[in-house]
């Protein structure tokens, strides 16, 4: 073939398309270098035996005694195949025990059938929320697929590791040893028990489990004993990670991420249909057939704050509201990859108001937020404060501090550690002998990226802006957890 001008030009075009521009080189380097926050999704290879944490700042608050239990994924990668989504790592139960001014840290993996099978194969083979899995999976029931990695509920001397699609997994609170899956009633064996039980002013506990548009509503004693279980049908088969409640109502937020087709991983079953808007179904706890449906502009969500009903029938609750499901689909995968940009916009704390006349409103705080939590003395009752993690932004995908939103004043009280820390969810711990909402501490760990270790912090609710009143430092870094519960 005779070289021609045309051939040359075509070749040059192809070459220029392949040439590495400085921008492309920089982007490629950024993709290949472990992200500064990569410790958040690092693997822990073994349980952490109980060990003292060292007080590095402030002093232990007098009267703060108890244990913060936290759950979250602790191992993603195995030589023969890995979990590729943040929600699919093996559940690691952690305990931070505060006693006599000291803190003891321990952590044990939930000894699930999934983890046992995958340890034997040295490969992650079980499909999950975003992990595909492979033909070597051994799944004879929902619980066989459980990573028991999402949250924790304290029931006396036991803690239940909670997941979304199956039974609670009972572990010993003192040793964190795994016992067995919990069957609340023989005819309800294997029914899903989701990760966000709601505590009622009467001391009982409500939770839900979903399958498409079907819901099981669990009502329990705080001991974990079942009071009753009833079935409910939702008007829309939305992906529902969390529900909320007032003293008299169950509240289901139905985002337009709706069941579309069967298949795995689980998240592929849902289609984002923003044109549908977001609905809120309010159900009477006493009679699940008494419902009311409200319409809101489109938002996505994982987490809600506790709700309350006012004397005139107005219902309010907060939500960490997202623009879409980009983080759930792509961002949570990038987090496990540990490098490159993390797609998805941070959520914003918003307050939902459901009026007696049927109108619904969504008011934004304007503050970046996840993991909203309130005063447990006011669960299901009127309150003004919501604590949440804060500081997520595009260049830094995980939170770097805590904030308290005061819905009465409209003010946000925030503290940021800056880029050197990844902040985890805080629990709200009332100060003994007090009743006011501000008479409480926040207890939360972080990953100190500069030191490469996990820390535990205590904040004063009345002065969050001042930073922690005490900080203890471990000699090990645990991957970021999801949700915790306090046992005083």
């Amino acid at each position: 073939m005779t070289p021609s001008r045309r051939h040359f030009l075509m070749g040059a075009a192809a070459l220029s398309a392949a040439v590495a521009t400085p921008e492309r080189v920089r982007a490629a380097i950024a993709r290949d270098v472990a992200a500064p926050w990569a410790l958040a999704t690092a693997d822990l290879d073994a349980d952490i035996a109980p060990r003292a944490m060292r007080l590095v700042q402030g002093r232990a608050p007098v009267g703060l005694e108890g244990t913060l239990f936290r759950n979250g994924p602790g191992k993603f990668r195995r030589p023969g195949g890995s979990a590729t989504h943040w929600f699919d790592g093996d559940g690691l139960m952690r305990s931070f025990s505060l006693s006599g001014g000291g803190v003891t840290l321990a952590a044990r993996f939930a000894d699930t059938p999934k983890r046992r099978h995958e340890t034997a194969l040295d490969a992650v083979v079980t499909p999950g929320f975003g992990t595909v899995g492979d033909a070597r999976g051994r799944i004879g029931s929902n619980d066989d697929a459980s990573s028991a990695n999402t949250a924790v509920m304290v029931t006396g001397e036991k803690v239940w590791a909670l997941w979304e699609g199956g039974s609670p997994l009972r572990m010993d609170a003192a040793t964190l040893a795994t016992e067995d899956f919990v069957t609340l009633r023989p005819d309800l064996k294997g029914m899903p028990f989701q990760a966000h039980p709601r505590f009622a002013p009467d001391g009982t506990v409500w939770n839900v489990g979903t399958n498409g548009d079907q819901v099981i509503v669990w009502h329990m004693q705080a001991s974990g004993a079942l009071i009753d279980a009833r079935m409910l049908r939702l008007p829309r088969a939305s992906y529902l990670h969390d529900f909320t409640a007032t003293d008299r109502h169950l509240i289901f937020v139905l985002q337009p991420w709706v069941f579309d087709r069967a298949g795995m991983p689980f998240s592929t079953q849902f289609a984002w249909q923003p044109e549908l808007g977001t609905q809120v179904l309010v159900v009477d706890k006493a009679d699940l057939t008494q419902t009311r449906l409200y319409e809101l502009p489109t938002f996505s969500f994982f987490h809600l704050g506790d709700g309350w009903a006012e004397p005139d029938g107005t219902i309010r609750f907060d939500v960490a509201a997202g623009a879409d499901v980009t983080f759930a689909i792509e961002g949570a995968r990038a987090l496990v990859a540990g490098r490159g940009p993390v797609p998805g916009e941070p959520c914003i704390l918003k307050l939902v108001t459901l009026h007696p006349d049927g109108r619904a409103e969504l008011a934004s705080s304007g503050v970046t937020a996840e993991f909203p939590k309130g005063d447990p003395r006011r669960a299901g009752l009127a309150r003004s404060l919501t604590v949440h993690v804060a500081g997520e932004r595009g260049s830094r995908p995980l939170p770097d501090g805590l904030a308290i939103q005061d819905w009465n004043t409209g003010r946000s009280h925030a503290f940021s550690f800056g880029d050197t820390q990844i902040m985890e969810e805080a629990v709200f711990v009332p100060r003994p002998g007090t009743t006011a909402e501000r008479d409480a501490w926040l207890v939360a760990p972080s990953i100190n990226l500069a030191e490469g270790v996990t820390e535990l912090h205590v904040f004063d609710v009345a002065a969050v802006e001042d930073g922690p009143v005490a900080t203890w430092r471990a000699d090990v870094a645990l991957p970021a957890g999801f949700h915790g519960a306090w046992r005083g």
């Binding site: 051994r138 799944i139 066989d144 005819d187 399958n211 079907q214 099981i216």
Partner: protein, 142 residues
């Protein structure tokens, strides 16, 4: 998750324990011993070959009254070859495999080789085993 896993329930609940006549000179015996988690009700056993395992009629069946200590099923006069077993434990003795409100089995079920499926009943590739002469299987069903 629950939606997909409910695929498990229907095929097992539809276990048909009908016996088909043996065709040739049968020479082998299969003895299946169950290790149930409960000592009530009955274990319902169905034996298949490669042709019938997935959706076909069982070749042989047995009902083991575990409440009276019966844990072993014997299938005599089998052609040597590959077989698979499906079983469930009717713990409350009501004659069917009970399911929870989302359609998932709440009574134990099991397959030969103690095989577990992958979001469904264990497939033939996992459950098949060779019967030749006097053959035994021990199946945990709990």
């Amino acid at each position: 998750m629950t939606r997909t896993l409910s695929l498990i329930a229907a095929p097992l609940a539809a276990l048909v324990l009908s016996a088909a006549p043996a065709l040739a000179e049968p020479t082998s015996t299969l003895t299946v011993t169950f290790e149930p988690g409960a000592r009530t009700g009955a274990v319902m056993v169905a034996l298949y070959d490669a042709r019938t395992y997935t959706g076909g009629q069982a070749l042989r069946g047995a009902r083991l009254d575990v409440a009276t200590g019966q844990y072993t099923a014997s299938f005599e006069g089998l052609e040597p070859g590959e077989y698979g077993i499906k079983a469930f434990h009717d713990v409350n003795g009501n004659g069917r495999m009970d399911t929870n409100p989302f359609g998932m089995p709440i009574e134990p079920y099991a397959f030969s080789n103690n095989a577990v499926g992958n979001m469904g009943p264990a497939g033939w590739d996992r459950a098949r085993f060779t019967v030749d002469g006097a053959t035994t299987q021990t199946i945990s069903i709990r």
